[in-house]
């Protein structure tokens, strides 16, 4: 494995490279606009700035020689840009790259000395431009992070030492300090006062107490950076303060110190290893959690799930979640707690506990909030279960929510590279849309085992699981089949295993109740069906029926295709027992589910299949045996590799091995 490939180190390194050179080229490129390049200044005089290194350069005669040979100024400017370009271009030649890196740092140092000698550049904000490339020169992860840490301390030192200077030299205690600074600093502007900035300075000079308050606030902001020496917890806050300080400095002092903000990258990149903690967020589809939590328990010693109260109560059909997943902590959303507050709690927890992994089991709202949270947690390993693929790539601009989601999606596409799906076909389809991503198939749950054998004497039971929704399911065939259920066929009970209190549900119940066949009975539910009852009905069923409309409109009115771009709850329900399921022939189920799939093209075919099942107990038993054998595949052992890929755990261990080999190499040397 390439030492620079994959993992946190590579990500951090790439991020530092981008930020550093972005700042470098913008800062030094922008100097051209102000006539600050040496060839533009074409100096003829040197200044002494009480710096020993500068004195050394002057003494050896380089500035004097350059003055005598003005073409050298252009060469000096050109080299300032050619060095980093050459360094960047030597991507795969380690020795040359390192030499160019060292050369670049030394040359940048010399250029800054010359700039100060010739036109009094202020060195202070540029020291980190010299120190940060040292981290890019090394190719060792541990050394990279150590140098980055050192740069972070230096960045903190810049602010803290500025505060100490102001306190130690008594400026803070001089009530007139700031107003006098303003007079001296803005002297030329104040001589021809014109405009709001000049009026503001004049006002501040006339109100020294207010001006001094600003000065003290500035010192306090600088001093606060001392916190960074003891903890990294507030690094993002410090970064915000650094930005605030630079903005205030620009407004009050007219010092455009934003070049200093390059150092903020050291607060942004957190090189410390994260705690191996898995956090799962799920507020909508708790029925999809069991397999994920089983797998988490195998690979993580600590798992934390953020979920709704109703989800917690229904996550498992038998026993409590605490007894089924003893090492898993459940953070339950209060009934009156808004989702946004839960999300805020989630990210606060991730930061405080320094969690390594986050899996978003469902993401259907608050996209921008999640995106911001993830952008501010760059070293967090994030994965996502996508329920509707087309919607994940769709952009809409009709409402504020559309706008926020459309802005968030491309950022999420960049940030999240690991995805899971409930069908293999979905994973394949997704991979075509996002070739660089890891897309794996994980079932909602593992196979629960066969249902208890049923005597032939009991009523034949057909269960229609899921919410009653005309958009997603086609009930005409259901009504037609039972309306024509033969009087001499075995008695049948139809269970509508979803909330039928809605308009679609009421309409369906009305139609089914109008069936006068004496052998037909209807059972239906109003309101939320708790999980034990739901699972009991599924396991008691002789056959499930999922009359899906294969081409449906998704939650955001995006066209989706069951089996390809979205999955129904059927695959989760099937794994609760070895019950066969009637579903449209058009629905593409993976091979492993095929033994349970009874496909039909029209109502007549569905009726024939049901009547055969109802009347032929041997056929039912044979079918169940086949399904039982096929579903034995759904065990954690068969999905642990996919889970590791989803969590990038295999990549982590490869990286660990590479680091160990690298350490060995180093010790041999």
């Amino acid at each position: 494995m390439d030492r620079l490939g994959g993992g946190r180190y590579a990500r951090d390194r790439q991020f530092l490279t981008i930020v550093y050179f972005l700042f470098f080229f913008v800062v030094f490129g922008y100097q051209w606009a102000d006539g600050r390049w040496l060839y533009q200044v074409r100096p003829e005089f040197m200044s002494y700035n009480r710096d020993l290194s500068e004195l050394g350069v002057i003494l050896v005669g380089l500035p004097r020689w350059m003055i005598a040979h003005p073409w050298s100024f252009g060469l000096a400017d050109a080299m300032l840009f050619l060095f980093p370009v050459g360094w960047l271009a030597m991507g795969r030649r380690p020795l040359l790259r390192r030499l160019l890196g060292v050369g670049f740092v030394l040359y940048l140092g010399l250029y800054l000395l010359l700039a100060d000698i010739f036109w009094q550049i202020h060195h202070e904000p540029f020291i980190l431009y010299l120190l940060l490339p040292l981290a890019l020169i090394t190719t060792r992860a541990e050394r990279f992070h150590r140098l980055l840490d050192a740069c972070r301390y230096y960045f903190l030192y810049v602010f803290v030492s500025a505060a100490i200077w102001k306190i130690a030299r008594g400026a803070v205690f001089n009530g007139q300090e700031m107003s006098r600074i303003l007079i001296v600093h803005h002297d030329d502007l104040l001589t021809a006062c014109n405009g709001w900035t000049c009026s503001m300075y004049s006002w501040l000079i006339e109100h020294p107490a207010v001006a001094q308050l600003l000065y003290i606030l500035g010192v306090v902001v600088e001093a606060v950076f001392v916190v960074g020496f003891f903890t990294r917890r507030y690094d993002r806050v410090l970064m915000g303060l650094a930005v605030l300080f630079v903005v205030a400095d620009h407004l009050v002092m007219r010092i455009p110190y934003w070049t200093l903000l390059l150092g903020g990258v050291t607060l942004w990149i957190d090189g410390r290893p994260r705690e191996r903690i898995m956090v799962v967020y799920e507020t909508t589809h708790h029925e999809n959690l069991p397999a994920l939590l089983d797998l988490c328990a195998l690979r993580f010693t600590r798992v934390v799930v953020f979920l709704k109260e109703v989800s917690f109560a229904n996550i498992t059909g038998s026993g409590s979640p605490a007894s089924r997943w003893p090492n898993t902590e459940f953070v339950v959303q209060d009934a009156d707690e808004p989702n946004r507050r839960l999300i805020t709690r989630l990210f606060r927890f991730l930061r405080r506990e320094r969690c390594s992994h986050l899996h978003l089991s469902t993401l259907d709202n608050n996209w921008l909030l999640f995106t911001l949270g993830l952008v501010f947690s760059p070293s967090l390993q994030v994965s996502l279960t996508v329920h509707e693929i087309n919607d994940y790539f769709a952009r809409r601009w009709r409402s504020l929510r559309d706008w926020t989601e459309s802005v968030a999606k491309p950022l999420l596409h960049r940030r999240i590279k690991h995805y899971s799906f409930f069908l293999p076909a979905m994973a394949e389809y997704f991979q075509q849309q996002m070739p660089g991503a890891t897309a794996v198939f994980l079932p909602s749950r593992f196979y629960a085992g066969p249902a208890d054998p049923k005597g032939d004497a009991r009523r034949f039971t057909v269960v229609l699981p899921g919410s009653i929704d005309q958009q997603r399911r086609e009930y005409g065939s259901v009504v037609a089949v039972f309306r024509q259920w033969p009087a001499d066929a075995p008695p049948v009970t139809l269970v509508l295993l979803g909330d039928s209190s809605g308009r679609d549900g009421q309409l369906l119940v009305l139609q089914l109740r109008s069936i006068r066949t004496p052998t037909f009975r209807l059972k239906h539910y109003e309101g939320y069906i708790d999980q034990p009852e739901y699972e009991r009905q599924i396991r008691a069923a002789d056959v499930l029926w999922s009359p899906l409309r294969i081409h449906k409109t998704g939650s955001r009115e995006t066209a989706e295709v069951y089996g390809q771009t979205t999955a129904s709850g059927l695959t989760a329900d099937l794994l609760l027992s070895n019950t066969p399921a009637l579903a449209p022939a058009e629905l593409e189920l993976p091979e492993i589910f095929q033994p349970a799939h009874l496909p039909y093209h029209h109502a007549g075919e569905a009726a024939a299949l049901l009547q055969r099942l109802a009347g032929d107990g041997m056929h039912r038993r044979e079918l169940r045996t086949r399904i039982d054998m096929a579903f034995e595949y759904f065990t954690p052992a068969n999905f642990i590799a996919a889970f590791e890929a989803l969590m990038a755990l295999s990549q982590e261990s490869e990286e660990g091995r590479a680091d160990a080999i690298e350490a060995d190499d180093h010790s041999v040397q």
Partner: protein, 160 residues
């Protein structure tokens, strides 16, 4: 590696304690930390190029800096007799470290030469993107009074 880092910070703090001198890349972050006294007068350069006075509001912050910095540097050079004090300290330092010969053979590199007026006219012309034929720089002394800057004295410095 960590000893390099610790060494760097030790040197940094050492130079911070040295106050008046730095050795790049060990610099001070003590800007605006000295306790300012009420200035008797404030020196401002009035620059008139080909009859037109240059005003800071017409320039960006950095660009205006580039107009002003050479003037301040030239005055400092003039007032310090081309940094005689610094050169003297350097000579003494090198003599103390046993390198007086090196100093003597290189000391000619320390001296500034050239005509500031001619250079500044050309330089200003490059900033203005037009040649400057006539240049006048006055030293103007102001005092802050009654909410504004009051001119208390003027002296022509450059004219040509």
């Amino acid at each position: 590696m960590k000893w390099w880092i610790i060494g760097f910070f030790v040197l940094q703090i050492g130079f911070d304690l040295a106050h008046s001198v730095t050795a790049f890349p060990f610099v001070h972050y003590g800007m605006f930390s000295e306790s300012f006294k009420q200035p008797d007068s404030i020196l401002v350069y009035r620059i008139v190029a080909d009859g037109a006075m240059l005003r800071p509001v017409d320039w960006s912050v950095y660009s205006w800096d580039m107009v002003q910095l050479p003037l301040a540097a030239a005055v400092k050079r003039q007032e310090t007799n081309d940094f005689a004090f610094d050169k003297d300290k350097l000579r003494a330092g090198m003599a103390a470290t046993g390198l007086p010969g090196v100093y003597n053979s290189l000391k000619f590199n320390l001296n500034n030469q050239g005509d500031f007026m001619a250079w500044y006219k050309g330089y200003l012309g490059r900033l203005l993107r037009r040649p400057v034929a006539r240049l006048r720089v006055d030293k103007c002394w102001y005092r802050w009074k009654d909410g504004g800057m009051v001119l208390i004295g003027t002296q022509n410095w450059l004219n040509g």
